[in-house]
């Protein structure tokens, strides 16, 4: 006998190779889609109503992957390898995965042109359920199948709001309305228009999973859950978030559905009916809601905001409007208030058009009383800034701070920013001090209020105007 050791090693190894080759072949032939195909066929044969139907069922080809290849999208969708009854009316009330596609959608969206993942997402190339649906982080697939409650977002990739409304797609239509009316664009740019505090939202729904910090998400760590839960509790998901929104249940689902319409442009234009779902707002009231209400609310009351850590002034109440003219209003809106969350809204910064800004100002100033107070008559000559400083330190620093920065649990606004220092006229500031601002913590310092004389007020203003030149810290 030749070498016992090597011959037995050879024999045992050869048995392993044979056995595992067999196992591998068996695994190839008995995988999920093979099983689904033969089960589907069996089901149809068993439930055939007529001889002809049975013949047809017997003629169904099994054992081959079925796919739609969309050459212009470089997509291959193999979903129908398991979803065999996709276009079979007999399977209208069948069980998944053999069920017919619901609704009439496939009549207008030929499977051969659209495939499946254009609307449903998931991994079209995969041939087992876990990876095809992209469920679980271990599939390393960024765009898992979209949950049914958000599916209307896919319609909005190509269709406009009017059509969606007519078709009864209320979830996404309401989501779009919420997006406009909750003031999301006060902080988020979309299509280059909007504020700067938050991230721009263009293509946000096409972002890879790793963009969404999942540490605090409850349940499956998907982008869908992230978006929804961060509408319900922004700081519960991102502790440092300054987002001012808290929606519940249905509204969160609706806005989430809208968010998932914001996909990167991927489909060629011959797939689409429209470019963008969002409705263009034109009137002042809608524009105010869209861009201002996120922070200012209705604008009637000033609000101390815990998250932003500062007082957000009332801007549509008459007490404010009687003091401020359109010029000063526009100056503040254009330049923003540096050092606060109020960002610049001039057309080059926010993408808003001059015409739209004018409409917003028109809307804000709508309730300006016809009676405006007498001018203060500020003049620059003979101002005693030393006395102003003393007065400031006695009367103003409690709210505005010694250095005039405000903020940080103080009620007053920052007086050092360039709007106060450069854009706003002393006349306007003096009037504000004299008459105060009703609806805000700023009291009147005039004879009727805190009892300062005009001379003293003018000195304080002169001092405040020097704050911007001083270095502190």
């Amino acid at each position: 006998m030749h070498s016992r050791f090597y011959l037995s090693l050879l024999l045992i190894s050869a048995l392993f190779v044979l056995a595992y080759t067999g196992l591998a072949v068996n695994r190839e032939l008995s995988n999920e889609w093979h099983q689904h195909q033969s089960q589907y066929k069996e089901f149809l044969i068993k439930n055939a109503k007529s001889e002809a139907a049975r013949k047809r069922a017997e003629g169904i080809e099994t054992g081959a992957i079925r796919q739609i290849y969309l050459s212009s999208l470089n997509k291959a969708d193999r979903c129908m390898s398991c979803h065999m009854g996709l276009e079979n009316p007999l399977m209208a009330s069948g069980n998944l995965p053999y069920k017919q596609h619901s609704g009439h959608y496939l009549q207008t969206h030929a499977v051969a042109k659209f495939g499946c993942t254009v609307c449903h997402f998931g991994q079209g190339r995969a041939t087992n359920m876990k990876e095809a649906h992209g469920m679980g982080r271990d599939t390393f697939w960024d765009y898992p199948i979209i949950p049914f409650k958000y599916i209307q977002s896919s319609c909005a990739i190509c269709h406009d709001v009017k059509m969606l409304e007519a078709e009864g797609m209320h979830t996404v239509v309401n989501g779009e309305r919420l997006f406009r009316e909750k003031g999301c664009r006060g902080c988020h740019k979309l299509g280059g228009v909007g504020g700067d505090l938050g991230a721009a939202l263009d293509g946000v729904a096409s972002r890879p999973l790793h963009y969404f910090p999942m540490a605090h998400v409850i349940g499956d760590r998907t982008a869908y859950n992230w978006v929804k839960q961060h509408f319900e509790d922004p700081r519960g998901i991102v502790p440092t978030s300054e987002m001012k929104v808290s929606l519940t249940g249905e509204e969160a689902d609706q806005l989430t559905t809208f968010i998932f319409t914001l996909r990167r442009e991927e489909l060629p234009s011959n797939y689409k009916l429209i470019k963008n779902i969002t409705v263009q707002a034109t009137d002042g009231a809608s524009l105010f809601k869209m861009y201002c209400s996120g922070c200012h609310g209705t604008g009637k009351q000033s609000i101390y905001d815990e998250v932003l850590d500062r007082t957000i002034p009332a801007i549509t109440n008459s007490a404010f409007l009687r003091l401020i003219d359109d010029y000063s209003l526009k100056s503040i809106i254009d330049a923003g208030r540096s050092g606060t969350q109020m960002t610049a809204w001039k057309d080059t910064a926010s993408g808003l058009k001059e015409k739209e800004l004018a409409r917003i100002i028109e809307y804000v100033a709508e309730n300006r009383p016809t009676q405006i107070p007498e001018p203060f008559g500020y003049n620059k000559e003979n101002r005693d800034t030393a006395r102003g400083k003393t007065l400031y330190e006695q009367r103003c620093n409690f709210c505005h701070g010694n250095d005039g920065r405000g903020g940080g649990r103080k009620l007053g606004i920052n007086l050092r920013n360039s709007t106060v220092q450069n854009l706003l006229q002393s006349e306007f500031l003096a009037k504000t001090v004299l008459y105060g601002r009703k609806g805000t913590p700023m009291p009147s310092f005039g004879a009727e209020g805190e009892g300062l004389g005009n001379q003293e007020i003018a000195d304080v203003i002169a001092y405040v105007k020097t704050l911007g030149k001083k270095k502190t810290r």
Partner: protein, 519 residues
């Protein structure tokens, strides 16, 4: 008569037809039926593939506990990788827009594609382990001596080639792993900048930038880089490694086969590895062997010693080789059946993996890179390779060649170095993990100091000092080599483990991956 002649012709033809099989086989194999020792020898030297092996093989070579078959295993893994690689090449498309899709298709729709991809991946990575262990076997049996010095050098070259082949393959699927591995490698190639910047000569002599652009074909990984890596992986490196493997084997033959102890004694157990040498003579008397290179000048194959302990290669060696091949195939097949080769998300240049890790076999070096890219990525690996290359030239002792660890002292030095290496290195790592390094203590410190003095360079310095001390202490260069090699191996293993298992996001320390912050 005419008729008879005719008949004879036809009969001849008939006869030829009947013996077609035998005559074809004879012409194909160049020898007749294998019935005698002479024909057994003829099989070996008449066959192109077999003649690189001797007609007779020493018993020691056939003992599994001498070689553990590691060199053969490496070869067979290479062949398996070649075969499965050709399969994959049919489907793979080396373009940034399609590479990922075609790899997905190999996984999902190509019959047996996933298994083949797994086999290719795991045979490649197993080859690194096999080649490493093979190197350790050759080292510890002292088999780099007695004319084999240059073959050791070739072997180190093969080790490097194996790693580069694996690395280039890792970059082909164009997923996140591929992309960020490319970034890491290009950064390491760029790292001489660290030095040229210190001397302010980068704008005149930017060797780092040149290397990086040569590799990437641009400034960032893209189609050009993929094309280059693809060509490296499927044409250049396989051709080179095939030729070099051929030379490696040919030199083994020229050097008289594998090493063996000088005081070799046959044992009873040898009977289970080979047919014991026949003492009855036959045409090959045991006292004589035949060199096939008798016309060659200079050194002929060193085959004429210890002839009495050799056996015929056919069938003894060939059965052993076939068994090792089958075992290798079985292990790879079973592993590939259960464990899938990784494939992550599509490459995304805007989304760095955190941590962005190189493939595991380079994570030891990446750990060093985390101290200093230039030192850890270029200087220390180069020193490591050069150090390995120099071993046979700096240790020329020829006693005890063919004996594991040379002698009792060698066992002792190996043990000592293993323990000292493990404890010392873990100490250095623990120190730098707990207390940081220069940059954490003195943020303004010049980079040159960190490049020169960091945990990696200090440790390598210690290894060198330790092996010199061992030479002094034992009076033997072989012992010094054992100390050096052992410590280098221990270092490689521990650093690789640290980089693979203990480093998480931002290269911070974690005991296990389950403690990584959720993202």
């Amino acid at each position: 008569m005419m008729n008879g002649l005719n008949e004879t012709g036809l009969a001849k033809f008939k006869g030829n037809l009947i013996s077609l099989k035998d005559s074809f086989l004879e012409s194909f194999l160049r020898n007749g039926k294998i019935t005698s020792d002479k024909s057994r020898a003829a099989v070996m030297f008449n066959n192109f593939f077999l003649h690189v092996q001797g007609v007779k093989t020493h018993l020691n070579t056939l003992r599994p506990n001498y070689t553990f078959g590691l060199g053969l295993i490496s070869l067979f893994l290479l062949l398996i990788a070649f075969a499965s690689g050709i399969f994959l090449m049919v489907y793979y498309n080396p373009s940034t827009s399609n590479a990922f899709n075609t790899v997905k298709d190999i996984n999902f729709v190509v019959s047996g594609g996933r298994l083949m991809r797994n086999i290719h991946k795991w045979s490649g990575e197993a080859m690194i382990i096999a080649v490493f262990l093979h190197m350790a076997r050759v080292f510890y049996t002292g088999s780099y001596a007695k004319g084999r010095q240059f073959n050791w050098v070739i072997g180190i070259g093969l080790l490097v080639l194996t790693c580069i082949l694996n690395l280039t393959g890792y970059m082909l699927p164009w997923d996140q792993l591929s992309y960020w591995a490319m970034v890491i490698v290009s950064n390491i190639m760029n790292s001489p900048k660290e030095i040229t910047d210190i001397f302010g000569i980068t704008q005149y002599f930017d060797i780092g930038g040149f290397q990086k652009e040569l590799f990437l074909g641009g400034l960032n990984p893209g189609q050009e880089s993929l094309t280059r890596v693809f060509l490296l992986h499927i044409i250049m490196l396989p051709s080179i490694i095939s030729v070099v493997v051929g030379i490696h084997f040919w030199r083994i033959r020229k050097d008289g086969g594998l090493t063996r102890p000088e005081n070799f004694e046959p044992m009873d157990t040898d009977a289970s590895y080979a047919l014991p040498p026949s003492k009855k003579g036959g045409i090959f008397p045991t006292y004589k062997t035949y060199g096939l290179m008798e016309l060659a000048r200079g050194r002929t194959p060193a085959v004429d010693n210890d002839v009495e302990n050799t056996v015929l290669s056919w069938p003894n060696t060939l059965i052993a080789e076939l068994a090792v091949f089958m075992m290798t195939a079985a292990v790879i097949l079973v592993y590939a059946f259960y464990v899938d080769a990784p494939l992550k998300e599509l490459a995304n240049a805007t989304l760095p993996e955190n941590p962005a890790k190189a493939p595991w076999y380079f994570l030891g070096f990446q750990e060093l890179v985390s101290y200093s890219a230039f030192m850890g990525g270029i200087v220390l690996p180069t020193m490591g390779v050069v150090g390995l290359l120099l071993i046979p030239y700096l240790d020329r002792e020829e006693q005890n060649v063919g004996t594991w660890f040379s002698n009792k002292q060698g066992v002792w030095v190996t043990l000592q170095s293993t323990i000292l290496g493990a404890v010392g290195l873990i100490g250095v790592l623990a120190f730098s993990i707990n207390f940081g390094w220069f940059r954490n203590w003195w943020p303004e410190i010049p980079q040159l100091l960190i490049v020169l003095v960091n945990p990696g360079s200090i440790w390598v310095g210690f290894i060198i000092v330790w092996s010199l001390y061992t030479i002094k202490r034992t009076g033997s260069t072989r012992m010094g080599a054992i100390a050096l090699f052992t410590m280098a191996m221990v270092t490689y293993v521990i650093l690789t483990y640290t980089g693979t298992e203990l480093r998480g996001p931002n290269w911070n320390f974690y005991w296990s991956q389950s403690q990584w912050p959720v993202h």
